[in-house]
Symmetry: C2
Subunit: 340 residues, 2 copies
């Protein structure tokens, strides 16, 4: 089968691609071609060297002919402008997130209308569809039945695309499914500008021997998923069959979340890495960050995800240990040999 | 103030326009100009003769320059492709309902960005946003907190536009508000192809001395609003101020619904118009119609509408009597003189 990943060289795209190249099968069929579409292709990416990989570089909306030059069996749409960009530049977000997704769905529909396979289309949505609406506070535990009230351009665009995927699926244009991603922690790499960035930073930076600031009160509860679980969730939603109790109707799937307090995250860091590492974190609450992160749902009913065979991380300790295992280069030398 | 009504010569548009020309004020200011935009202008419409009225005829997306040639203070967006059209022609529905609404919102945003007043923008949505999703049956009583799971192209487009109106409002581009219209009964005029058409037909046709078929079991419960209450609802949502307990956040307003059984509707007809009229109705359930109409919500929590001063029709009897009063020409001669 020919699989396309948009945003194929992004943080998650590379990991989904890597997992597929390791497995070599998806939905019970061999991976024959893996198309990675992205604006930027990192120099020296090992993915490019794999003979199954085909790279489509550039603006996705201008490269649809290449993406659909051969029939697309599975389309994993991860490309997206991020929340801060969409808030700063409304038109950019509408174009990159809404118009591009619609163009992609229409290209898939054209393939189906021409007698090709209706592409199995996985849309990566976000917990950002749940914003804080003053007229309707979120319930203590959020499920897929909870009304999303997005209060950001990014969340609005994601919610609109969810509705489009459900409708294109109902009409038989695509076999669509929506995975709502949780805040990913621990993200490797450099800090980013997201309000949630500290949820990786307070672990990643101290492990690298660097100081970090925690901008929220430690009592704050948050919902997280590790990169491994997130990739696993995307692939399981891709492979899920339609039917009652599984991918029925038009509902998205909230990927499973591990609910932890920030205090619990810091205690875990201390337990796993020792006092010297944990003491690199300074707690300095910033009301602006607390207001944003505190408005996000912290606890999810994972029943729908569980029915698809997904599960949250076992514990935040397992998340931290997996990060250390996966990123030895990003962990200070004295940590790498530490007994797990 | 300059008020624009799109779909200004439609069933509801004409009635909203007529109400404004009678009141001559809206939101505490005089109606100085009333722009009625529509594809088709009925020959001899009395609205056209009013000196306050300006007609913009043609495809709305091509007439935005005319609509916004002078600052728009209030924009009541009623123009829409109807559900059957959207189901039959997907691209037509996406263009007429989604793209045109977005173009209208962007034109309003351009006015705001140029220093003009942010148009008070009323979007007429529909109870069709609530479809029957097999994975998530609707609760017995539906409110604005109920997750809309549209299962039609029309309902999907309406729901997407609701999200756009909320987001354009949050960003300050427009002062938007969404009124979700209930099934309107009794609609005057000719039967239409809507699955809900019989909910007017079983009253309208017998009153005109014509036979009518009721395609559902009389026990079916439905949620209705009269044309008068619907027009009143649109105008009250237009005039509502923002603030806690009123138009807070991004939630739509479900216009108030009167819940009745079809048996109750027929009994009312018998009581108001007599046996000879009521006997013109033949009950012949059609499973296809029952499946569609039976999937719609029949009971609503009207609290949010009530807080805005809206109320449902007092009784179905008042609805039928108002129809007779408003449409003497459509009622058989022997009914017109009947004691109310």
């Amino acid at each position: 089968m020919r699989i396309v990943i948009t945003g194929g060289f992004g943080f998650l795209g590379q990991r989904v691609a890597g997992a597929l190249l390791t497995r070599r099968t998806l939905c019970g069929a061999p991976v024959e071609r893996l198309v990675l579409a992205d604006r930027v292709v990192p120099a020296g990416s090992p993915l490019v060297a794999d003979p199954l990989v085909e790279v489509v570089q550039g603006d996705l909306s201008e490269r649809l002919d290449e993406v659909f030059a051969q029939p697309v069996d599975v389309l994993i749409h991860l490309a997206s402008a991020v929340s801060a960009e969409c808030e700063a530049d409304f038109d950019l977000g509408m174009s990159a997130n809404l118009d591009t997704t619609r163009a992609l769905l229409d290209a898939a529909r054209t393939q189906t209308a021409a007698g090709g396979p209706p592409p199995r289309t996985v849309f990566s949505s976000s917990v950002a569809v749940y914003g804080f609406d003053p007229a309707l506070p979120l319930p203590p535990v959020v499920s897929e039945a909870t009304l999303p009230t997005p209060r950001s351009s990014y969340g609005t665009q994601k919610r609109i695309c969810e509705l489009l995927v459900a409708e294109y699926t109902r009409r038989g244009f695509v076999d669509g499914r929506v995975a709502r991603l949780m805040t990913v922690s621990v993200r490797a790499g450099k800090p980013n500008a997201a309000a949630s960035g500290f949820l990786s930073g307070i672990i990643r930076e101290p492990l690298a021997g660097l100081p970090a600031t925690c901008p929220v009160s430690p009592g704050l509860r948050v919902a997280l998923a590790s990169p491994r679980r997130t990739v696993d969730g995307i692939l399981r939603v891709t492979e899920a069959e339609r039917g009652p109790g599984a991918l029925d109707g038009g509902l998205p799937v909230n990927l499973p979340a591990l609910t932890v307090t920030v205090a619990g995250m810091l205690a875990t860091l201390r337990r796993v890495a020792g006092d010297a590492v944990a003491d690199l974190v300074t707690v300095a609450p910033d009301p602006a960050v607390e207001a944003i992160v505190g408005s996000w749902p912290a606890a999810f009913d994972n029943a729908r995800a569980t029915a698809l065979g997904l599960r949250p991380d076992d514990s935040f300790e397992s998340v931290v240990r997996a990060y250390i295992e996966d990123h030895p280069e990003a962990v200070a030398a004295r940590m790498r040999g530490r007994d797990g």
